[in-house]
């Protein structure tokens, strides 16, 4: 059995967090992951407070176990949503797309464990100083908004500068990845793409099918020109967007406009031509739609087998 400080800290059976995927990670997915022994996470994305409160209450009705909410710090509703998670006293808040320092006191005072996603060692140090219980070191293999560093490089360096548990994210979807993350110094993992195809995930079936079909080379990053790179599946939309980033006749505003609503078109409408299918590089290794419980137990069983076997090269 695998037990790490992340299990004790977050009161979960397996040290596995489900990534907060905008337009994808809702109360039903979060509750399914929490019921399976991981930590499910609702994505607050760009949504308003009413929707977030409704999702939190729905998750509470679906599971007795702790779950989290991911706060996207660049959201226009971030102030309101930050307040609502404090009022609802969710167990855990994870944050993405920025520096959460401004809200940390509010959450800590509400008894919430704050676990920010960090893409650099300096950010990790900053959030820990401000009271973070753990950090998620997310490499650029992941889907959606990505940093420059890879998981392999980022995780051990973050482990070296903070004294709280580090959760590795980006490029993990099987026991080999989890075992590797442990060897890099992490005490837990966060997986997004792996749970996107969970049976309990309400994302459009076309989205799941694209992830299940994806091969190793089927993702790309777009958005560097606007300073917010995102990893997405290659499709007519992302290829065209990628080309326009290098087209000086297109203004930044036009480019921004082109991206607006594209994730929704993918996740809700399943528009395979015009949608933006955010997805991690690990999609190439995900071939099966399974329940959240099957995903977690199969991955953790494989992890145990690998760790119990030690390293085959050690003579």
């Amino acid at each position: 059995m695998i037990k790490t400080p992340v299990c004790d800290l977050l009161d979960i059976r397996y040290p596995v967090l489900q990534g907060g995927m905008a337009w994808i990670a809702d109360a039903e997915l979060a509750a399914a992951v929490s019921n399976a022994g991981g930590l499910g996470i609702i994505s607050a994305m760009n949504a308003g407070g009413d929707w977030v409160r409704e999702q939190i209450r729905k998750a509470k009705s679906l599971t007795e176990k702790p779950f989290g909410v991911n706060i996207m710090l660049a959201s226009p509703h971030v102030e309101e949503v930050a307040q609502i998670v404090a009022e609802e006293k969710v167990a855990v808040v994870t944050t993405g797309a920025g520096n959460p320092s401004k809200y940390m006191k509010l959450w800590l005072d509400a008894g919430i464990k704050v676990v920010p996603v960090v893409a650099s060692t300096a950010m990790a140090k900053l959030v820990v100083r401000n009271g973070a219980s753990a950090v998620i070191a997310e490499g650029g293999e992941s889907g959606g908004h990505v940093g420059e560093l890879t998981t392999m490089v980022l995780v051990p360096q973050v482990c070296d500068v903070v004294d709280v548990p580090v959760i590795a994210a980006g490029g993990i979807a099987d026991g080999r990845g989890v075992a590797a993350a442990f060897y890099l110094g992490a005490a837990g993992v966060q997986m997004g793409t792996a749970f996107l195809v969970a049976k309990e995930c309400n994302v459009h079936q076309n989205y799941k099918d694209k992830v299940l079909k994806a091969k190793d080379i089927d993702t790309m990053t777009t958005g560097r020109r606007l300073g917010h790179p995102v990893r997405v599946l290659k499709n007519p939309f992302s290829r065209e967007y990628g080309q326009k980033e290098y087209d000086s006749s297109i203004s930044d505003a036009q480019l921004d406009q082109m991206g607006a609503g594209a994730l929704r078109r993918a996740a809700v409408e399943g528009d395979v031509q015009r949608g933006s299918f955010m997805c991690g590089q690990i999609a190439g290794m995900i071939h099966e739609e399974r329940s959240a419980a099957e995903i977690i137990t199969s991955i953790m069983t494989q992890t145990e087998q690998i760790l119990a076997g030690g390293c085959p090269w050690l003579k």
């Binding site: 650099s120 940093g147 420059e148």
Partner: protein
């Protein structure tokens, strides 16, 4: 050494910038620095000056940083 000089020294040392291109009016953008660079730099400033800085959205220029450091001293 003035606060500005010390801040410029830190910027030059950490990011290989050219000192004579940095003024109080320089923004992070002007210097080609992204949000992760700025977090790292603010941490460097804290260590160098032995202070604690609140990173806010108003901290856009080198001059803003100098002001924040002087206020925190």
């Amino acid at each position: 050494m003035s606060t500005l000089d010390k801040v410029v020294e830190i910027l030059v040392e950490a990011k290989d910038l050219e000192a004579d291109k940095i003024t109080e009016a320089s923004t992070w953008d002007d210097l080609g620095l992204d949000s992760l660079d700025t977090v790292e730099l603010v941490m460097n400033m804290e260590d160098a000056f032995g202070i604690s800085l609140e990173m806010t959205e108003d901290m856009k220029t080198v001059g803003d940083v100098v002001k924040a450091i002087d206020a925190a001293k």
